[in-house]
Symmetry: C2
Subunit: 278 residues, 2 copies
């Protein structure tokens, strides 16, 4: 079926592009790196691309420097693997002009572009689909590939906390640990790599905590002044909304982020690891 | 061997006490509840005891009200299972006076008391050892038992983040999810149940963050005034030392906790999830 068709495309071609969505998360980077390194191990010519640089917290991944953020002039590929992207536009690359065949591998719903489309919303991460493809190729993941896949699963399940962490997620994570992945190495890099700027910003933002009288709503606020005072930048506040959300009884958490004198961007999070919109 | 001997003791006796260490963590509660409920399913008379009440964040566990913090007068048991205790004293119960046979099941090193002693420091949690015993009994865990075991593993691996999360940890977690455990239900209760008091205290403590010029040391401080101002109590600060520890580059984190006018208790944490002493 679809996995078999992907394997035939791998076997019958030589030049591959592997790309995921810009502003990459752990699954985008992990999936890209795992597939790219595996294809190289199989003797293929591979360019692994992301429009944005690999985030600092993921730079511990072995061989992550194969990921580039620019392509050589006149690049052309037999196959482009587009991973975890949801929409082709999110690669920020003219993928269609660069290759003959587009293969979309994703676990997001409504992700239906591509000449071949391998989408499974039951998978907790695109890394799971890459793992399945590699197993079907009878490819034994190297430690570098195993770490990259583990990062993808860890990241998209919020450290195995979300309901998306199903039986297969644990089975694959266990297999990857069996291949030599150290959970602490991956998780401490991903989750215990706060910058001093972020921590200072948090210490200034957290005192703004407001909890509604019902206890069902809680909010924190970041003003332009706070941001300036901390020396941090806006992206250092990523995930801050999880602090009010983590309070017992709170159903909806809000993060007010002042972006101009009279303008606030508001992020919402509901209980249940569901983004209720930004 | 030892597991077989434990099964014989289960089969040949009727009255069981199951107890873990006072001030219980997730593994102590999860293991106690899982073994107690399983023994009841097998038709045994069981008292599940903990010297301290079950923590609020674990009260979502089904049938957790079987856990009691006082024993009927003149209690006597055939077997006492002492779980996750390290030392018999930590049960805060005169176990030897209460039963004929003490069976110690634990994953802590140097835990060598008991007439039977089943200790395996390779197990990430005592819950893993309980799972092994139940499997050897050919007992199919109920959903209540599965949730309790999952809580134990989740708790002692820090949500599968520590290096103690080995291949067996993932295999068992996957099996428990296959039995119907929802990872989000367990993890959100355990990790996203901050009280408003704790969050207010954190917002007052975090601004005390100091990072050494080398970036290798970081500290936060809680004064008597801070505590009073927050309306929280000292135990609301459990785990606060993880905030300075989570900063990239920090090797040792310190938490100064003022306990009297001129007295500070200092908690240390090193990188690597190792407690370097309190």
């Amino acid at each position: 079926m679809i996995v078999q068709q992907i394997i035939e495309n791998i076997n019958n071609n030589q030049r591959f592009l592997v790309v995921a969505h810009e502003n990459p998360d752990g699954d985008a980077i992990g999936s890209t790196l795992a597939l790219a390194l595996s294809l190289r191990d199989m003797g293929k010519d591979v360019v692994a691309y992301n429009a944005d640089a690999i985030p600092d917290v993921m730079r511990f991944l072995p061989q992550c420097d194969v990921l580039v953020d620019s392509l050589p002039d006149n690049s052309h590929f037999d196959i482009a693997f587009v991973l975890d992207a949801g929409d082709l536009e999110r690669t920020a690359l003219p993928v269609r002009d660069l290759c003959q065949t587009v293969i979309n591998i994703d676990h997001h719903p409504y992700s239906d572009f591509g000449d071949l489309c391998y989408v499974d919303t039951d998978a907790c991460a695109t890394a799971v689909l890459i793992y399945r493809v590699l197993m079907a190729c009878q490819y034994q993941p190297s430690l570098a590939v195993a770490k990259a896949l583990y990062l993808g699963i860890l990241s998209d399940t919020g450290s195995f906390r979300y309901s998306s962490a199903n039986q297969e997620s644990f089975a694959i994570a266990g297999a990857l640990v069996g291949l030599g992945v150290d959970p602490w190495e991956v998780s401490s890099n991903l989750y215990e790599s706060n910058t001093p700027e972020r921590m200072r910003l948090l210490s200034l933002v957290l005192p703004s905590l407001q909890i509604s009288s019902s206890g069902h709503y809680a909010s924190i606020s970041m003003t332009l002044d706070t941001l300036k005072q901390s020396g941090a930048s806006e992206e250092h506040s990523d995930g801050f909304v999880n602090y009010p959300r983590s309070i017992r009884g709170v159903e909806v958490a809000l993060f007010f982020n002042q972006t101009a004198e009279n303008l606030y961007k508001i992020s919402f999070r509901s209980r249940g690891a569901i983004d209720v919109g930004t």
